[in-house]
Assembly symmetry: C2
Homo-oligomer: 436 residues x 2
């Protein structure tokens, strides 16, 4: 960037700070001032194209023309709440439910993943008459009071609720012991957590988890862990809530919804981020019995949710995702990428593990002593940015590179990503890079 | 409607029920199957145009072309979250904040009024270290757990929180005593409620209220009541939150924001419904100090909120509202309407009072014995629907007709509304109408 461009970005940042405050998060030391997007590319105010290997919200690509047309046409025709009959919400609901296992046959629409998780918790608490919650350690599921009180993955001022038990999620990529031992230990911990909730009188209302354990650092629990955990929760009378905000819509390659990777039957599935390709849209899918119980005893209404424009956006995303077979694409490209990333990791001691599945990758970075290195991860993210590729980082130690591109990512984009990633890792781990 | 049209609507209703459930609310015994909208008109599947005298979400008119174009153009150009710098959110924030008193100089964007109220409560609880809440009796502020626990205006299964005190709102239109007496009594009750929160150890975190007391039945408290209440709350260390979801953006005619009618300085203002003309958009406006306190101690992020498309929609609504001087229009037309409604009421003993302000009217209906009549109100709403005009009803006794048209309502529409309203009231209160 030129000095002028820096000055312009600084001026915009100062105005932004005076409006939404200095704490509203921004990526990068020198934030990206973005003006347009197309497919897997974002273009900055100074005309530089950045390869987007971070954003899952534009699931079918930035400014996907099918989605844009659907929104524009419906916005010009009608946008109202669901207290009048409208075809759009019904058709979208039918399409969406057809992607789920048969027992998940009803949907509540919302405007965000936060609203979806908030509603799922209400349903679970009312159904069980209990308040106790099992979550994963270093979780983030949204920004409401109930969700803040159970989060360990984000700075919030609310103390952790007395009714919340964050579970350590076992990870076979970092635990050298046999999977059987790891599995048994983790399930024992979960059973203890349940017993502790019961002993404290909270009972168990629900387990809420992200099937890819993303914020937790893209952990890989041993086979059978999630299934065993779900069985324990059901055995204690609780409900299982799968948060598909990051794992859904074919992202994992091997399943359309993340919870299917674990071969479990959740009672509630919550959705957000990619559902409307950026249009505010979320939802809760559940059983007919749970909808009936909640719906018949609560007047639940959500003004914007399920409106014709939101439904049109959601339907277009689903049509694109299914019609272009993006799940299969994620599986295919994900496999190529994984092989290449494993090679890249094998050559570099600074990369301890390649994590994730489908079009979702985590590279776990360590320093020369083999310790988790947030500093290196930050420097790789910044170096990638300087080299025109957008990624981020996650995990309790902030040392796992988060690579989660739009699902229309292709081989040619993967080449660019891998090329820049290798170079950025080398730049950061070479001695002279330390001084940067 | 023909038999075929009835059958088609019934079939759609059955499909809807199988997707979003039979409890998702619908207006009217025979719900309106809507296909398009324009200005103040909604058109049904069988080609009938309905005058919309109910919906405040399409604030600047159904499918307002300026808003539709803003959404379509921005959706085709870029839609991302706020962790990159973007002009749109800053410009919209500046425009929006310019409509508030100087002390309200920061905004958090959200996707709905529920998210806005939820966030305002988090800010208030953290600031005060207290949980106690003053609300109005028969309130509704959204669908999250925290908001359900304080609602008395909607059927929810959550019991009223022990930390919540619903206040009876005094109403000069139904209380024959002198305003001084009414005012003193109501403020004494509020002081007692505060004392009771303090005695129970909850303290006072906030007063949350709708400046027009809409759900409560469009009550008219005596002059000085809200000011006195706000002073009591501030005196007890609590914050004042004005929920502008129904009263904002010039609706009241005499003020751009509803709280200004009461000449108070709220600490937090929450917004939703009309803000994006149907595009999911809400927000919390507050002081620099409260944003700083919350923002510096919580990592608050909301994926969809403040995205370029939402900001474009919000900015277009604001431009239309200000540029077309819709507040002045609401004042002018509201005055004509009120005169006419008073005449209409004077001739009909079934109408006890004309309520509201600006383009927001409530007609309070009673039976022949002068008792609140939900039945008559329901029948008038249905009769109006048969006569091509959409209204609804509110209040703890469900007997107040709710008339709240898009702000682009004009004299010609008012004539239609008044004509149909007179006829519908007469049809319902005439003896032969009882059999309908």
């Amino acid at each position: 960037m030129s000095t002028d461009q820096h000055a312009a970005a600084d001026a915009l940042r100062a105005r932004r700070s005076a409006v939404i405050g200095p704490h509203s998060p921004l990526f990068y030391d020198q934030p990206l001032h973005v003006v347009s997007g197309q497919g897997v590319w974002l273009t900055s105010a100074n005309g530089v194209d950045y390869l987007d290997a971070y954003n899952n919200v534009p699931h079918v690509g930035h400014c996907n023309p099918v989605v844009v047309r659907a929104i524009a046409e419906q916005a010009a025709k009608l946008n109202v709440h669901t207290r009048y009959l409208h075809e759009g919400v019904v058709e979208y609901g039918e399409m969406l439910l057809a992607t789920f296992a048969p027992h998940l046959e009803r949907v509540f629409f919302t405007n965000s993943g936060s609203e979806a998780n908030e509603l799922a918790l209400r349903i679970a608490r009312q159904h069980t008459g209990a308040r106790g919650l099992l979550v994963t350690d270093f979780n983030y599921h949204g920004n409401t009071t109930s969700l803040a009180e159970m989060s360990t993955g984000l700075v919030v001022r609310e103390p952790l609720g007395a009714h919340v038990r964050p579970l350590r999620i076992p990870d076979v990529l970092s635990d050298p012991r046999s999977q059987d031992v790891v599995l048994a230990e983790a399930l024992r911990e979960a059973a203890d957590a349940i017993a502790s909730l019961q002993a404290a009188g909270h009972g168990v209302s629900a387990l809420l988890f992200d099937p890819l354990f993303t914020t937790e650092g893209l952990l890989h629990p041993p086979a059978g862990y999630v299934q065993g955990l779900a069985a324990l929760v059901h055995g204690a009378g609780g409900l299982v809530i799968a948060d598909e905000v990051q794992s859904g819509l074919g992202r994992s390659g091997s399943a359309f919804w993340g919870h299917e990777l674990h071969d479990i039957q959740p009672d509630l599935v919550t959705m957000g981020k990619p559902l409307g390709n950026g249009h505010p849209l979320g939802g809760v899918v559940t059983t007919a019995a749970l909808l009936e119980e909640f719906g018949s005893t609560n007047m639940y209404f959500n003004t914007f949710a399920g409106n014709p424009v939101s439904a049109a956006a959601g339907a277009a995303v689903l049509r694109e995702t299914l019609g272009r077979e993006l799940q299969a694409g994620a599986a295919r490209l994900g496999e190529h990428a994984r092989t290449a990333l494993e090679e890249l990791a094998a050559e570099r001691p600074g990369v301890r593990a390649v994590r994730g599945t489908g079009l979702f990758f985590g590279l776990e970075l360590v320093d020369d002593d083999g310790k988790a290195s947030a500093d290196r991860a930050k420097r790789v993210v910044e170096e990638m940015y300087r080299n025109g590729v957008l990624i981020s980082r996650i995990g309790p130690k902030d040392n796992v590179l988060k690579i989660r591109p739009p699902m229309v990512f292709e081989q040619e984009h993967l080449h660019v990503l891998l090329d820049r990633l290798g170079a950025s890792l080398d730049a950061v781990t070479e001695p002279e890079a330390v001084a940067r």
